[in-house]
């Protein structure tokens, strides 16, 4: 038990290192909201010339605003023949597209800027499709570190989690992108991924087999984050590893660096049928992606930050999936870690996944 304590303790330690910095530099005094963003900027502190970058972002944005304004005057002068309303919408759309194209990295944005970009995205979607979205930019709460546990004895391979994940997270239907893979393994061979089948189509549970699910493990020491040349992917203060789809340049270095096959790339333009779009979105989560960017499991950030379980946990008919706050001593996940013989995959790599396996 003490050993298990150490396990998540090491996670907590690394979390703690950030906390004093937070309170040190945080002058706002507010406990929620504001501090969350401070935490996320803190993460970026060690970056070379951080202030410069921030300064550049501001300057750039102001410059672009002015440019846009003058551009719009020109555009307005030319297209006077159009009807007023459609002209206004087109103008607004052009303005939004322009600002979106040259906005900064979400990780380095202030809360106001985050809200502004979310508003722009919602508005742009509205203009394009006459449909409204509910997109959030909710930041991490303090004292929260998400973790996940998977019960190998319970999983029967139904893959309800996979389809729930696809619907919840607006994944590309054309390429059948799936974050979760369920590996079917033979009894008696142990947990042997090499011999497992992660692409089965027969009735489950198959006689003499057991099932192990994998997805992004939200490593506490994520190699995928280190390698990104533009910091388009990072670990949020609540432990969720996210991607800014608008900042990613699509080099796929993070994909090569992930030892757990946790990342998916949009090789072509992702398609989601209009009536199937999940409109409850988060900027860092399931909002609609574009082609040429990286994406991955976000522990359903749009749900988990609202206090709900991820879609896979909710969909699982066997209760094989457990999700919760590692820092809350009364959470189920803590109970599992303290009372079950848990293990993680490829622990020798030092990635410290926040995803444990256990058996009854």
């Amino acid at each position: 038990m003490s050993e298990k304590k150490n396990k998540w303790f090491s996670l907590k330690l690394s979390n703690k290192k950030k906390v004093p910095q937070d309170t040190g530099s945080c002058g706002c005094g507010k406990k929620s909201g504001g501090c969350g963003s401070h935490a996320s900027t803190e993460v970026a502190k060690p970056v070379d010339g951080f202030d410069q970058v921030m300064g550049a972002t501001m300057d750039r944005r102001n410059a672009f605003k002015q440019l846009t304004a003058s551009l719009l005057v020109g555009a307005g002068a030319i297209s006077t023949s159009c009807s007023v309303t459609s002209d206004d919408a087109a103008k607004e759309k052009a303005q939004i597209d322009w600002e979106e194209q040259f906005k900064g990295n979400y990780k380095l944005m202030s809360d106001d800027e985050k809200k502004a970009t979310v508003d722009r995205l919602v508005r742009s979607h509205q203009i394009r499709t006459q449909d409204t979205l509910d997109m959030s930019s909710k930041t991490a709460e303090e004292g929260v570190l998400f973790g996940y546990a998977f019960n190998i004895s319970k999983c029967q391979g139904y893959m309800d989690c996979v389809s729930a994940c696809v619907t919840e997270n607006n994944q590309d239907r054309n390429s059948q992108m799936e974050y979760i893979r369920i590996h079917e393994m033979k009894d008696g061979q142990g947990i042997n991924f090499g011999e497992a089948d992660d692409n089965y189509y027969h009735e489950v549970p198959a006689e003499g087999h057991f099932y192990v699910g994998t997805q992004c493990f939200h490593c506490d020491n994520p190699p995928c984050v280190e390698v990104c040349p533009v910091q388009a992917t990072w670990k949020e203060p609540d432990g969720i590893v996210v991607v800014d789809y608008d900042w990613c340049v699509g080099c796929r270095y993070c994909m090569a660096a992930c030892p757990y096959d946790g990342r998916r790339f949009n090789w072509s333009k992702p398609e989601v049928p209009k009536e199937e779009i999940n409109k409850n979105q988060h900027y860092l989560g399931n909002r609609l992606r574009k082609k040429g960017v990286m994406e991955k499991c976000t522990f359903c950030i749009q749900r988990s930050r609202d206090g709900k379980n991820p879609a896979c946990v909710e969909a699982c008919p066997t209760g094989a999936r457990v999700f919760g706050n590692l820092l809350d001593p009364n959470s189920t996940i803590r109970w599992v870690l303290e009372n079950k013989k848990v293990f993680r995959l490829k622990e020798d790599l030092g990635t410290e996944p926040k995803f444990w396996y256990y058996m009854d």
């Binding site: 194209q101 893979r181 497992a196 992660d198 280190e226 796929r252 090789w267 082609k291």
Partner: protein, 406 residues
């Protein structure tokens, strides 16, 4: 002011030169242009449709582009093998070859950058990577290191030859104290670009095939074999098509460089193979797949089994002085070695890194026509740039192109 005028006249003169030439020259340039246009067409399809038009997938997420990029970094780095003796050791022999070598480095670097851009999912947001305007994840990401060293190397390799040619153009001696420090810097820099590129792969604990301390040194050895081999071939070509005099002695000296590098490369290959196959572990699966195939999947086998014999054959032949000193044999060997290392350092290095996948899944990779089209287009672009650079340099060095001479 004065030098600005000279520069203008140089630009006009060289434009004049590169637009005039023999029929063969025009055919060559027209051919390259056609290939480039075809490549651009393929790229436009890729931009329109996304990277799904390539053979890459979520299982094998880097392919032909990154392979060629890796190999060409080596070619670019090899210019240094000529720079060092010429500028630093005052070995006059190499002086004429070195301008060609540096021109080759410039062309190779431009191709590298083009391959990286071709591989990007979002070329329109590439400005995110520009330090100052974007967010540059330095020093954490090796890719940012690579961007810095490659562009720095490009700068060095443009300025040094430009300075020398510019002086010669005005009938002045190039001052050693101006260019020698730059040359010395470029020596270290060349090793740097290659090591950093190797570290790009070497630093990934997720890919045991790459996560191997020998990767960097082996990159260097193979680069210093393939790069100068290409330079020999190019020099041979220039020698027979222009009156730019390159002595046999120079070519033979470069051949010695190629030989030693190829020998070291072979030793390291043996060491690698021993480690993978004497006591195979889970981590040897990629090498096993590369050489023998796994579970009936063996797309890379024909490639690697072409590369290895070619490599051994060329190295062994080069080892014998008698054979190496025969220029025809030398050229053939250089060609074989170049092809062998292209396969080995390109395809043979990048693709098996992803096979088997993190959970042992074997998904093979084959480039598509569009991917090959873009690749050929970029190679044609490199050849085009190099031809222009080399022609100007040759004309200046042979004294045909001089300021105010007309």
């Amino acid at each position: 002011m004065g030098s600005l005028k000279v520069f203008k006249s140089l630009v006009i003169d060289s434009l004049d030169i590169i637009t005039h030439g023999t029929k063969k020259y025009h055919l060559w340039m027209a051919f390259l242009t056609a290939v480039m246009l075809a490549g651009m067409y393929c790229y436009s399809i890729q931009v329109e449709e996304g990277l799904s038009v390539t053979g890459m997938t979520n299982r094998v997420s880097w392919g032909l582009y990154i392979s060629n990029f890796t190999f060409l970094v080596g070619v670019a780095a090899a210019a240094v093998m000529l720079v060092m003796p010429t500028y630093v050791l005052h070995d006059v022999d190499f002086k004429r070859a070195v301008l060609i070598g540096e021109g080759l480095a410039v062309a190779a670097l431009l191709m590298c950058l083009a391959f990286v851009v071709a591989d990007m999912g979002g070329p329109n947001v590439l400005w995110h990577m520009i330090p100052g305007i974007g967010v540059f994840n330095f020093p954490n990401s090796m890719l940012t290191w690579d961007v810095l060293v490659l562009n720095g190397y490009l700068f060095i390799n443009i300025t040094i030859p430009f300075y020398i040619l510019f002086r010669h153009y005005q009938n002045k001696e190039a001052l050693a104290k101006v260019y020698v420090p730059g040359a010395i810097l470029s020596v270290f820099w060349a090793v740097g670009i290659h090591l950093v590129t190797a570290f790009l792969y070497q630093g990934l604990q997720a890919r045991p095939y790459w996560n191997n301390a020998l990767l960097g040194p082996r990159f260097l050895a193979s680069a210093f074999a393939a790069g100068p081999a290409l330079i020999i071939l190019v020099l041979a070509m220039i020698r027979s098509h222009t009156d730019f005099k390159i002595e046999d002695k120079t070519i033979k000296k470069i051949a010695l460089v190629v030989t030693v590098a190829a020998q070291i490369n072979l030793i390291m290959l043996v060491s690698e193979l021993f480690k993978e196959f004497y006591a195979p572990t889970h981590h040897s699966e990629s090498a096993y797949y590369l050489f023998f195939g796994l579970h009936g999947k063996n797309a890379l086998m024909p490639w690697i089994w072409t590369a290895i014999p070619l490599n051994i054959l060329a190295t062994v032949v080069l080892t014998f002085h008698k054979l190496r000193n025969n220029l025809t044999i030398l050229y053939i060997c250089c060609f074989l070695l170049f092809v062998a290392i292209w396969i080995e350092k390109g395809f043979g290095l990048i693709v098996p890194g992803f096979i088997p996948g993190p959970y042992g899944k074997i998904a093979e990779y084959l480039p598509t026509g569009i991917e090959i089209g873009v690749t050929l287009g970029i190679w044609a672009m490199g050849a085009f740039v190099f031809t222009i650079l080399a022609r100007t340099a040759v004309e200046i060095e042979t004294g045909k192109l001089r300021y105010k001479k007309k």
